[in-house]
Each structure stands twice: as structure tokens, then as C-alpha cells.
């Protein structure tokens, strides 16, 4: 893509901040509105913007579809894996308090962090995969 100088420069400037904002929303989820779902959508939006400006092929070089197809179930596995971990520590399914033997509230923080990371992974890869599928039609 040769033309559209303004679009290219502005989006190049914007994308890092979009990703940063996504991380803010992700980690803010512990204390207020936000979390993995919203952050995942923002991450996917950053990549969709990149694909709109620089083309699908360039985007798929950065994140190949095959990687996304693994990332979608992997996020679910991280989520459910935390549950299995709390089982193995003798608690109920997803009882995060079990994750820290000294202070249950630390365990809660850790549990939420891991689970939300799984959600972020699944949501962002699903969104991007849907975009790839639609954008790749007729090729």
C-alpha cells in the first residue's frame, strides 16, 4: 500500500496506544469495570485496524490463522486449568483462595489474573479469527 500517508502514519501511532489501553482495561478488571472480555475486543480491534490499513496478508504474517486456532481453545484451557488446579489443591472448582496457602485474598488476585488472561486470549483470537474468515472470503 503506497498512498494514504496520513492513515498509515496515524494508525502506526495509534496501534501501540490501543494495545496499551487494552492492557489497562485488562488489569483494571480486578478493581472496577473492565476485564478480559473488553480487553480482548480492544486487542482484536488494534489488529483489525492494522489489517484495514496494511492489508490482510501483512497481518497474517504477524499472527497466522493457525496460531489463532490454537489460541482460542488454549484460553479456555487456561480458564478451566485454574479450576483443575484448585481441585488438586483440595478446594472447590475455581476456588481461587486455594492458590495461595498463606493469604486467601492473594490467591483470589492470582486466580482472577490467570482466568482473565485466558479470557483475553480466547476473546481476542476469536474476534480476529472471525475477521480473517470474513476478510479472506473469495481469495
Amino acid at each position: 500500500m503506497r498512498g494514504h500517508l496520513i492513515l498509515r502514519v496515524v494508525s502506526k501511532l495509534l496501534i501501540p496506544f490501543l494495545l496499551l489501553f487494552a492492557l489497562y482495561v485488562q488489569f483494571h478488571g480486578d478493581f472496577g469495570p473492565g476485564g478480559g472480555f473488553q480487553a480482548g475486543v480492544i486487542v482484536a480491534a488494534a489488529f483489525v485496524l492494522y489489517a484495514l490499513i496494511f492489508g490482510l496478508r501483512a497481518t497474517q504474517k504477524i499472527i497466522p490463522p493457525a496460531l489463532l486456532e490454537v489460541a482460542v481453545p488454549l484460553g479456555v484451557l487456561i480458564y478451566a486449568g485454574v479450576g483443575v488446579l484448585t481441585w488438586s489443591l483440595g478446594g472447590n472448582f475455581l476456588d481461587y483462595g486455594m492458590l495461595d496457602s498463606h493469604d486467601p485474598s492473594h490467591g483470589q488476585h492470582l486466580g482472577i489474573l490467570l482466568v482473565e488472561a485466558g479470557v483475553l486470549m480466547t476473546v481476542s483470537s476469536t474476534m480476529l479469527l472471525i475477521f480473517y474468515t470474513f476478510a479472506g472470503r473469495g481469495r
Partner: protein, 494 residues
């Protein structure tokens, strides 16, 4: 104690396994994982049911260690245990059955994902039954429905995609209605836990918000149940889905929604309000009777045998909901027994038809001439299954119709009994057509020679056919559990 963790294991392990299958994608490996997990769920469900039956206490599980009503509660009582056993049993059996049929009907690269979706669907269905939380039930409903849409769309026929899309639109409308209803109930009670909600709704049941919430929940669930006239998604979805999916879908998906409807009508809104003070029983009764006749009439005129059985399912769902409308212990027992019985016989019939689809290539009635001679085991099983649908004494169909008829007599509705008898004649008409074509017509000249379907398919189907006969004589499991489960449902009311 390990059994304390069973409620979560039954639902969470299929979820983990589904994600694993989606990563592995190897057909045989995924099939093995699915089979082991489904069987594990079955053993877990049966153990829980046995435990509850023995001690009479429901199992309650605190998800994440948070106590209900604030936390999500998984709750297994006799009724949900009964449904859990049914769903996990059918899921395991269809996996054993479906190996060949999946190979012939689903593209090679997609088979691993098929098993992933299958497990996800099973997880959702088990989740709806096991959860004691109204919103959690919605989440599981979406999990099971979304995976079901995908499974239906995997059908070989191009029309499967359109059928799946139709199912998606109707299913989503149903789920939306349900969640609007739950939202209304949540705003006036401030709780999502079903037991807690029932307690708090008691004094405010006749407020407009409660009535609106009830209406939304009932209509939304009726769409998922495919109660006439909201059944339009069902025939195409059953007809064009892969054979194994149809057998699984027909035996479990609508049954689970019926369970949720029963829970809401009897446990949450309560017998004293929903049955005695609202027109719900009258409306459901009329719609059930229309479903029985309209479904059976439509079945008579179908050319595609899978579609014919699908319309017959609309009619059979009518029998089940009729029991809800009868609203007495006998009728409700009939309804619960028919949930199990219909799953067994319709599951078996769809499995046998799947065998025909595999060997003959189509399930059109005109292509089935003379199949009886070439595939005697399949067609003989079909005849026995047909008897069961008809309600011949000595088969499961008779048991459930008997309870429904006695339930109707208890209410003094003798004309319902007459209609039930009449409807059996219609079953004779559509099942008879298939049997006539298969046994009394010759294979056309030059048609390719036919073999019996693979052993794994025939054997699984026959286990279910024999179960139709066995459970027709020995009703201690179905009727025994159903009668106690009815006490649970009616007990919340009195």
C-alpha cells in the same frame, strides 16, 4: 470426599476435554477422549443419582467456594440427577454409534472439531440441568445451543446450513426471551438462585413484573422445546444434521429445556400460582394436543424419513408437555417417564435411520424399497421401535401413555384420553408407511447390492431397542425415579 466434587466434575471435565480436542484435532484421539469423558460423566451422574436416592438429600455444590445465594450453586436432586443420567447415557451411546457415520458424513479435517463441539454441547446440556442458578442456566443454554448450531451445519446436504441458520435465529430469540424474563425476575427479587428466587417471589407473585417475567421465561423455553407453534426450526434441523447429531439432538436437547420449564413452573413460580391462578396449564394443554395431531399429520406426508421422525418428535414433545398441563402427580410422572422413554426410542430410531443413510445413501422413502430384505436387523429394529412409538403394551411407549391417560382421567378429562388413543392411529399411519415400503416392495432392478450397517451402529441401536422393551416391563428405574422426582416438584408447591 470425592463425591462432593462430582457435580463440578460432570460439567467441567467435558469443557476441558472439548478445549483439548480443539487443539489436538486428531480424529481417533478426539473420539477416544470424548468417549472416556462422556462415560465418566455417565458414571458420575449415576453415582450421584444413587446417592440422592439412598439418602434423599439433594447435593449442593458451591462454585468457587462462594456460598449460595450470592455464589453460583450446582444442585443435584432426584429430578436433575435423572436428566443428568439420561443426557450422559445418550451422549456416550451416540459416540460409540457415530464413529462410522461421522466418517462418512463429515469432512476429514473437521472430525476432530466435531468431537470438540460434541463435548461442548454435552457440557452445556449437563450444565443446564445441574445448575441451581437462573443466569448460569442461560450461559449453559448458549453453550449447548451454539455448539448444536455448528453440529447441525456440519451435515452433508447444503440445506444443513440453512437449517442451522434457521435454528440459530429461532434459538437466539428463545434464549433472549428467557434472559429478559430472568432479568425481570432478578430486578424484583434481587437473586438468581432458583431456590432463593422461589422464596422471595412468594409474596409478590401477582405483581405485573413477576407475571411478565414468567411469561417471557415460559415463551422463551417453549421455543427451545419446540412446542407447537414454535417448532418450525426443528424438522429441518433434525432432517439435515449428520445422523449421529440428529440422534443426540433428538434425545437430549429438547428434553433439557422441558426440564427447565418444569423447574420454573413448579419450583420457582409454584403450583399454587402458575397452575392454579394463571392460564398456563390451559394454554399448554391446547398447544400440546395441537402439537400431537399437527405433528403426526405432517409426519404422514413426509418423503424424507428423518424429517418424518422429526415431525413425530414435535408430536411426542406434545405428550410430554401435556403431562405438565395435567398438573397432577400421575400426569407429571407420565411426562417425566416419557422424557426418558422418548429419548430411548427416538434415539434408537434415528440411529437405525442413520445406518440406512450410510448404506443406501439417502433416507428418501422412495429409495428404501426392499431395504427390509437387505438390512433385516435394521428394519426389524425399526418395527420394534415403531411399536414402542405406537404404545403397544410391553414397550416403553405404553408405560408413559398409560400414566398420561390415567392422569387425564384423574382430572376428569376423558376426552383427552380419547384423543390420546386417536393419536396413536396416526403413529401407525406414518410408521406403517416406512415398514410397508421397506418390507413389501422389491428393490428396483439394477440397484446396487445392500449390506447391513456396521456392527457398532447396529449394536448400539439394538441396545436401545431392547431397552424399549425391557423398560416396558421393568419400570422400577424410570417410574420409580420419576415418581420421587414428582414429589420434589410438587413438594415445593404444597
Amino acid at each position: 470426599m470425592l463425591i462432593d466434587q462430582f457435580p463440578a466434575i460432570v460439567v467441567a471435565v467435558p469443557l476441558v476435554a472439548a478445549a483439548l480436542c480443539a487443539i489436538i484435532r486428531h480424529e481417533t484421539a478426539c473420539w477416544l477422549i470424548a468417549l472416556v469423558v462422556a462415560f465418566l460423566s455417565f458414571v458420575g451422574s449415576a453415582t450421584m443419582l444413587g446417592q440422592i436416592k439412598e439418602y434423599g438429600e439433594p447435593l449442593s455444590y458451591k462454585m468457587g467456594g462462594w456460598a449460595p445465594p450470592a455464589g453460583i450453586e450446582l444442585r443435584v436432586d432426584l429430578l436433575s440427577g435423572y436428566l443428568l443420567v439420561l443426557v450422559s447415557l445418550i451422549a456416550s451411546a451416540v459416540l460409540i454409534y457415530g464413529r462410522h457415520s461421522v466418517r462418512s458424513e463429515i469432512k476429514e479435517g473437521l472430525r476432530g472439531l466435531y468431537y470438540a463441539m460434541y463435548l461442548l454441547c454435552m457440557c452445556g446440556l449437563l450444565g443446564i440441568v445441574i445448575t441451581g442458578d437462573a443466569f448460569n442456566a442461560f450461559v449453559f443454554m448458549e453453550i449447548s445451543s451454539l455448539s448444536m448450531y455448528t453440529l447441525v451445519a456440519l451435515g452433508k446436504d447444503r440445506r444443513a446450513l440453512a437449517a442451522s441458520y434457521q435454528y440459530l435465529i429461532m434459538g437466539t430469540i428463545g434464549a433472549t426471551m428467557y434472559v429478559i424474563g430472568v432479568g425481570l425476575l432478578f430486578t424484583i427479587t434481587g437473586t438468581l438462585n432458583l431456590v432463593d428466587m422461589a422464596d422471595r417471589l412468594g409474596p409478590i407473585l401477582d405483581t405485573p413484573a413477576a407475571i411478565a417475567g414468567m411469561a417471557f421465561v415460559v415463551v422463551g423455553l417453549s421455543l427451545k422445546i419446540a412446542l407447537f407453534p414454535l417448532h418450525l426450526w426443528l424438522p429441518n434441523a433434525y432432517a439435515f444434521a449428520p445422523s449421529a447429531v440428529t440422534a443426540f439432538l433428538a434425545a437430549t436437547a429438547t428434553k433439557v429445556s422441558i426440564y427447565l420449564l418444569m423447574r420454573f413452573i413448579y419450583s420457582v413460580f409454584g403450583f399454587g400460582f402458575a397452575i392454579e391462578q394463571t392460564p398456563i396449564p390451559e394454554v399448554i394443554m391446547v398447544l400440546s394436543l395441537v402439537a400431537i395431531f399437527a405433528g403426526s399429520f405432517s409426519a404422514i406426508f413426509q418423503e424424507n424419513v428423518k424429517r418424518m421422525l422429526a415431525y413425530s418428535s414435535v408430536a411426542q414433545i406434545g405428550y410430554i408437555t401435556l403431562g405438565i398441563a395435567l398438573a397432577n402427580a400421575t400426569g407429571l410422572t407420565g411426562s417425566l417417564v416419557h422424557i426418558f422413554n422418548h429419548a430411548v426410542m427416538k434415539g434408537a430410531l434415528f440411529m437405525l435411520v442413520g445406518g440406512i443413510a450410510l448404506q443406501v445413501g439417502t433416507v428418501r422413502l422412495s429409495d428404501m424399497a426392499g431395504v427390509g430384505k437387505a438390512m433385516p436387523l435394521t428394519m426389524f429394529g425399526f418395527v420394534l421401535g415403531g411399536f414402542s412409538m405406537l404404545g403397544v403394551p410391553g414397550t416403553v411407549g405404553f408405560v408413559s401413555k398409560w400414566y398420561l391417560a390415567v392422569g387425564a382421567l384423574d382430572n376428569g378429562w376423558w376426552w383427552v384420553v380419547a384423543l390420546l388413543m386417536l393419536s396413536s392411529l396416526l403413529v401407525l399411519a406414518y410408521m406403517g408407511r416406512v415398514i410397508e415400503v421397506a418390507f413389501f416392495r422389491e428393490r428396483p432392478e439394477g440397484a446396487a447390492a445392500l449390506k447391513e450397517a456396521p456392527k457398532s451402529m447396529i449394536m448400539t441401536a439394538w441396545v436401545f431397542i431392547l431397552a424399549c422393551v425391557y423398560l416396558g416391563f421393568d419400570t422400577s428405574f424410570t417410574v420409580g425415579v420419576a415418581e420421587q422426582a414428582v414429589d420434589v416438584l410438587m413438594g415445593g408447591a404444597q
